[in-house]
């Protein structure tokens, strides 16, 4: 039998200070599809769900666990581990102190690119269907498509901010290949460059109901001497939903940030 989750009204929540409230207070009577433990809290360690064909179901609202990767995607690596080409190192060094941050496309409300959009501090929803996973991002209200129907990307495509993505299963890991980027995005706020040759491989493994591992390989022979890999992880947000985020509606930052115009 499905339970209906009663979302605590704001006044009661403020008075409580006890258990964390269901935070999507703008939705009521939401059917409860979340495994719960004895005291009613989401059981994030329940087994990961599967689709009818036995594959892991990655559907859900996910949140990146650490904002630090937005600032520096390589923060967990040792200095020198990122295999920059000399020109790319020079550019990254110039950008690292923030003196060019006005040129960061993100600051101009342009798409953050892949994988940076997944590190933005806003949740995103995987909607997994047969042949297609739609990734619905709160960050700038953008979407991505990951085609799992076996199609292939042509060699010549119109370059884009978020690329073109296909996914396939390796065991219980979804391996997503993305290409067709426009080379304008920064991998992070400190400014690691990308080029049109960028190929991103994301490996998503849903360990249990509430936890997803993500391994990202940056393969950009235009800027780096070899592919390099970082690890991140995501946590499910069971009791909230996406909100709209239209970055353009009042972007006053450009007047305050140092640097030139976005290239």
């Amino acid at each position: 039998m499905r339970r209906i989750v009663a979302l605590a009204p704001l006044a009661a929540w403020l008075a409580l200070g006890a258990a964390a409230p269901a935070s999507a207070q703008w939705w009521r009577d939401v059917p409860d599809t979340v495994p719960r433990n004895a005291n009613g809290e989401p059981n994030l360690e329940a087994p990961a769900p599967r689709t009818k064909d036995g594959k892991p179901d990655l559907s859900g609202l996910w949140n990146p666990n650490a904002n630090k990767y937005l600032r520096d995607i390589a923060v967990d690596l040792k200095p020198g581990d990122v295999p920059f080409q000399p020109w790319a190192k020079k550019v990254a060094d110039e950008r690292a102190d923030g003196s060019h941050s006005r040129e960061d496309p993100d600051a101009n409300c342009l798409p953050q690119g892949v994988p940076r959009i997944g590190a933005a501090p806003a949740p995103y929803k995987f909607v997994q269907t047969e042949g297609l996973i739609v990734v619905v991002h709160e960050a700038f209200s953008l979407w991505r498509q990951i085609f799992t129907d076996g199609r292939k990307l042509a060699d010549e495509v119109n370059p884009t901010w978020l690329g073109y993505s296909t996914g396939r299963w390796e065991g219980d890991t979804l391996v997503v290949d993305s290409r067709g980027f426009n080379g304008k995005t920064w991998l992070d706020q400190v400014g690691k460059p990308t080029t049109e040759k960028l190929h991103v491989i994301e490996r998503y493994t849903r360990k249990d109901f509430g936890h997803m591992d993500l391994e990202i390989t940056i393969d950009d022979p235009g800027a780096y001497t070899k592919p390099w890999t970082v690890k991140q992880n995501l946590t499910l947000l069971p009791d909230t939903d996406l909100l709209e985020f239209i970055c353009n509606e009042n972007n006053r930052d450009l007047a305050h940030l140092p640097g030139g115009d976005v290239q």
Binding site: A20, S101, R102, F140, H256, L257
Partner: protein
């Protein structure tokens, strides 16, 4: 000033759980975390918008006594919506005390870390990037 410690610890818990902290640009490029500022004054305008909420407030100048209008940048609305705040939480003429980091360009602009409403003592964490120090809490700049 009465602060609900339960509320404060609850909101800190929610932040540490990784709720969104808006930052689509580098905090350090614009603000100086080493220049903390506390401002007390009256709200004159609220822009409840993406990518940042802006609160404008009149702060009496210590020397002259006349009001100086400050702009405070916060995170976007969604982080605060998830903490239960709405666009009507702050209105013109509300009295507030703000803690934040001064803008580097010398203007009357600061990045707000927290806002306490004088009338109720309620504390609104600003959902903003940077400056909270330590681990978790969504700070991605130092």
């Amino acid at each position: 000033m009465k602060t609900s410690t339960a509320l404060a610890s609850l909101t800190l818990t929610l932040l540490a759980a990784g709720l969104p902290v808006q930052a689509h640009h580098s905090f350090a490029a614009q603000y100086d975390a080493a220049k903390p500022i506390t401002l007390t004054g009256k709200v004159t305008k609220v822009e409840w918008t993406n990518p940042h909420i802006y609160i404008y407030m009149d702060v009496p100048d210590e020397k002259t006594g006349s009001a100086v209008n400050w702009a405070l940048e916060m995170g976007g609305p969604n982080a605060l919506i998830r903490l239960g705040w709405t666009r009507n939480s702050l209105k013109p003429d509300d009295l507030i005390t703000v803690e934040g980091s001064l803008a580097k360009d010398g203007s009357h602009l600061a990045n707000a870390k927290s806002i306490v409403m004088t009338a109720t003592g309620k504390k609104m964490l600003a959902g903003s990037s940077g400056g909270t120090g330590g681990t978790g809490g969504g700070a991605e700049e130092r």
